[in-house]
């Protein structure tokens, strides 16, 4: 018996190792911290148990459970303390903290007949307080954590609809929206010899779909066990600006293209099982993230013409990112403190492997001194992250105003790691702290 138990534990440990060593990375705010407050407090779980607008991200099928019109407003923040140590490296790599607002709207669709209490929708917006999208892409030799801090500096607009089709099955669909930038600047001199320009930029919407399915398992113990699966398409925000100064003089200079990927969330599939047992809700799940499709941060400044694909233009470093599996676990304890007050205590954990490989290709540059192309180390850093999450929620009921108040806190630890490129060796470590507070009102 003991041997069997040990065998099970070893099998479980092996599975855990298997799913946590895939590679790792992080994404936009919800991909790093989760969406709302309940899911982030429970280790980012929610594919099988989310409530309200959070389900627009975790699993839109659960929007079919919305029964009350509810508006939620809140604030979230995160700080990054990231280190890259080694010869020629700065130690701490400074990054701005992230501060953002969250707005969520739960909207039940109160139809009648066979459609009664079956359809719900939600709109959700999370946005940094000062930017819509940040695209900070330094030269590759500058020490940076390309998959973590700046990727949290982006707006996220989500909407979804969920339908309860019966027999314990719910389906849902939604989308996420982001803005990408396309621009040009043509600089020239006019007839009077003064400089003039024709400058244009456009913000173009880019969308990614979200699909979800849940199934309430029919068990005889009167408790609820639900299985959830969701799919999120890749969400990418490009930055593409061309500068044409060819008419500024007789100097024959090329048209410059400055293009890159300001934000990127990989395509991902999440699976989760949640079980409510008495006052407790337990959730266990995993997310597969297809980082191998990530095209990288920068594009060539001078793309080679089709007629000369090997024109010798400098190309950004080629990095093959790794797909990752993110295991998550969460628990919620709910109790009533009187007729009009419900309390919730939440906790969870997640382990986010890094999608960045340990050995990176070098990058190319033109050296002014030697007047030759040289290779420089690519100083991209990232590491697996272990996050511990906590949360607390209060919900008032009649005769008190129907208000909810939820908060969460997260502590992420970057697992020590060494990344090499050329002769550069960087030892990665660091912490990330995040917290959020949301207030909701039903009306």
């Amino acid at each position: 018996m003991l041997a069997l138990s040990m065998q099970k534990r070893l099998t479980f440990a092996a599975l855990l190792v298997a799913v946590t060593t895939g590679g790792a990375a992080s994404a936009s705010p919800e991909d790093i911290f989760g969406y709302g407050t309940r899911s982030p407090a429970m280790g980012g779980t929610g594919v099988a148990h989310s409530e309200g607008f959070e389900a627009a991200y975790t699993n839109p099928a659960l929007l079919g459970r919305i029964r009350d019109l509810k508006l939620t407003l809140g604030f979230e923040a995160a700080t990054f303390n990231l280190h890259a140590d080694g010869a020629g490296l700065p130690g701490e790599v400074p990054y701005d903290s992230m501060r953002g607002i969250i707005i969520g709207l739960d909207v039940p669709i109160p139809l009648g007949g066979v459609l009664k209490d079956r359809i719900g929708t939600a709109l959700a917006l999370s946005s940094p307080t000062n930017v819509i999208v940040r695209g900070n892409i330094p030269y590759p030799e500058a020490p940076q954590f390309p998959l973590l801090p700046d990727r949290s500096q982006t707006v996220s607009i989500r909407a979804g609809i969920g339908v309860n089709v019966g027999w314990g099955i719910r389906v849902g669909a939604g989308f996420a929206a982001l803005a990408e930038l396309d621009g040009s600047a043509v600089v020239q001199t006019d007839a009077t010899g003064r400089v003039s320009s024709n400058v244009q930029d456009q913000l173009i919407a880019t969308y990614a779909p979200t699909l979800g399915l849940t199934y309430d398992v029919p068990l005889e113990d009167h408790e609820t066990t639900r299985i959830g699966v969701s799919y999120r398409g890749a969400l990418a925000a490009n930055f593409d600006v061309s500068i044409d100064a060819t008419k500024l003089s007789s100097l024959n200079i090329p048209v410059l293209t400055i293009a890159g990927l300001a934000q990127y969330d990989p395509e991902q599939v999440s699976f989760e099982i949640a079980r409510s047992q008495g006052a407790f809700l337990f959730a266990l799940g995993a997310t597969y993230k297809r980082w191998s499709a990530y095209p990288g941060l920068l594009q060539s400044t001078l793309p080679c013409p089709a007629s000369d694909p090997t024109c010798g233009s400098l190309v950004p470093p080629s990095i093959t990112y790794k797909d990752t599996f993110v295991p998550r676990v969460g628990v919620e304890y709910s109790t009533s403190a009187g007729k009009s007050l419900d309390l919730h205590v939440r906790a969870g954990a997640l382990y986010e492997p890094s999608a960045l490989p340990s050995k990176l290709a070098s990058s190319m540059a033109f050296d002014m001194t030697s007047q030759a192309t040289v290779s420089l180390p690519t100083r991209y850093f990232d590491a697996d992250r272990l996050a511990i999450t906590l949360g607390y929620g209060v919900a008032l009921r009649d005769p008190l105003p129907p208000i909810t108040l939820d908060l969460f806190g997260q502590a992420h630890a970057l697992m020590p790691r060494t990344i090499t490129s050329d002769d550069s060796v960087g030892k990665v470590s660091g912490t990330v702290f995040a917290a959020g507070l949301l207030a909701g009102v039903k009306f």
């Binding site: 019109l69 709207l105 909207v107 669709i109 109160p110 009648g112 007949g113 459609l115 709109l123 940094p128 307080t129 000062n130 819509i132 999208v133 695209g135 900070n136 892409i137 030269y139 707006v155 803005a179 930038l181 621009g183 600047a185 600089v187 003064r194 400089v195 003039s196 320009s197 024709n198 400058v199 244009q200 930029d201 456009q202 913000l203 173009i204 919407a205 600006v241 500068i243 100064a245 500024l248 003089s249 007789s250 100097l251 200079i253 090329p254 410059l256 400055i258 890159g260 300001a262 920068l298 001078l302 024109c311 233009s313 400098l314 033109f366 002014m368 007047q371 208000i403 009102v441 009306f443």
Partner: protein, 446 residues
């Protein structure tokens, strides 16, 4: 107001103070939703559907049931200069919104969300040379997303107060380029770049009040804040010029676009008889604050001559003189909006409506007799709309279904611009045209 009911007031105050409000350029000339457009945009005192997010957020508090609306609008801009089409892009967009009313501690309260989502882009910032003729108020300013969220309360049945915010985005980018420029074969240049770009949020407020003087007469006041989109672009280029010398080239271009002046609307709505309603809005537009949409370009060139001099055929550029931006000198205007709605059909489950509207936009631009060529003309807009409302047809359908359509014809009479300088490079020109605005809106009340 009693202190024991502070929550709705706090929420409304938070919306007024903290959130940006909604209303964007394409909505000024072309309206929001088919009902308001068909009534000439005269809706400040008579609106309670999703279009209240633009016309008057206070109207949201009049809603008694949740309503979701979706529609589409197409505006063809047939504008001409010297009889030739100016190629002004059409405005094609999905419109959508939601009104979610309820009660908080007994006080009617509502949340609203409005969206005008262009087919092709969320926004476009375009800074042309100031002497290049362009339809300043139609060419680019209508290519813009409108996204707004509002809150409203009705502390007494005769009073509604609402407000909120809208936001769009500006661009602030620094581009760094380094490497080698091959002036003999430019495609063989070896350059690379780094980006530090922020799309920054621009928020602007909106607030409105509606007062019902009687059951048949209401007045409203709406304030809409000012916003502008900035496009600040810096490019620093450090490059070796074909082994001849090392060049430093710094380009900085700052421009303001899509300037929306602040506005104040005073409106009234009078139900003359139960089947007939007349609305009048007067909108003061602070055009005199308009910022010229011309890029302020600063160029710094530092290219030391090669020791052996420049090869034949290559002339090094010199630093050009900076742009001198001429003032635009717009004038404030007052825009009248007139609208009428006749309930032509009033059955138990079906109602039908006919709507008419007119508005007059006097051009805020002075005659372009100098070097600038911001083309504009007065605009007379005539609109017609039909609507049908069906109530409780089937239990599986929304309780209240409304389908509204509109057609609006804007006529811009042809005017002639005469330059004060006979040697002006652009010369005299005539300009005018028509705008056709067609759209439908489906509203579902639950």
């Amino acid at each position: 107001m009693r202190l024991r009911r502070p929550l709705p007031w706090l929420l409304a105050l938070a919306a007024l103070v903290a959130s940006p409000r909604a209303r964007a350029n394409p909505l000024d000339p072309f309206g929001f939703g088919s009902r308001g457009t068909a009534m000439g945009g005269a809706a400040a005192a008579d609106v309670q559907d999703f279009s209240a997010n633009y016309y008057n957020p206070a109207g949201l508090a009049l809603a008694r049931r949740m309503e979701i609306s979706v529609g589409y609008v197409n505006v063809d801009q047939n504008l001409q200069i010297n009889g030739l089409s100016s190629g002004v892009d059409p405005v094609r967009a999905m419109v959508a919104g939601i009104v979610a009313p309820g009660k908080l501690v007994g006080i009617p309260f509502a949340f609203g969300f409005g969206l005008h989502l262009p087919d092709d882009r969320l926004s476009r910032v375009r800074a042309l040379p100031q002497d290049e003729p362009r339809w300043e108020l139609y060419d680019n300013r209508n290519q813009l997303l409108y996204l707004a969220a509002n809150l409203a309360v009705s502390p007494w049945p005769w009073l509604q107060i609402g407000g909120g915010v809208s936001f769009v985005s500006s661009t602030d980018a620094t581009l760094d380029i380094s490497g080698q420029v091959n002036v003999y074969t430019p495609d063989s240049s070896q350059l690379r770049s780094a980006i530090d770009a922020d799309l920054t949020a621009v928020r602007y407020p909106q607030a409105g009040v509606r007062v019902a003087l009687t059951d048949d007469l209401a007045l409203a006041v709406v304030y809409r804040g000012q916003f502008q989109l900035d496009l600040d672009l810096k490019a620093n280029i450090r490059a070796n010029i074909s082994g001849l010398t090392t060049a430093l080239y710094e380009l900085e271009t700052d421009s303001v676009n899509n300037f929306l002046p602040q506005q104040l609307v005073v409106g009234g709505s009078w139900r003359i008889v139960p089947e007939l309603r007349a609305n009048l809005d007067l909108t003061w537009v602070n055009w005199s604050a308009y910022v010229p949409p011309v890029a302020d370009v600063q160029v710094t060139l530092n290219i030391p001559p090669p020791p052996a001099g420049w090869p034949p055929g290559i002339t090094p550029p010199s630093t050009p003189a900076p742009t001198i931006i001429a003032p635009i000198n717009m004038r404030d205007t007052i825009v009248p909006h007139l609208g009428m709605e006749w309930r032509a059909l009033n059955e138990r489950k079906v109602q039908g409506f006919v709507r008419l509207g007119y508005e007059f936009d006097k051009s805020p631009l002075p005659p372009q007799t100098g070097t600038t060529n911001y083309v504009d003309a007065d605009r007379h807009a005539f609109s017609l709309g039909l609507g049908v409302r069906a109530v409780e047809l089937l239990p599986e359908l929304p309780r209240d279904l409304r389908l509204d359509g509109h057609v609006q014809l804007s006529e811009l009479p042809t005017t002639t611009t005469v330059k004060s300088n006979p040697a002006d490079l652009v010369g005299n020109y005539t300009a005018g045209g028509t705008l056709w605005n067609v759209g439908v809106t489906l509203a579902m009340g639950f």
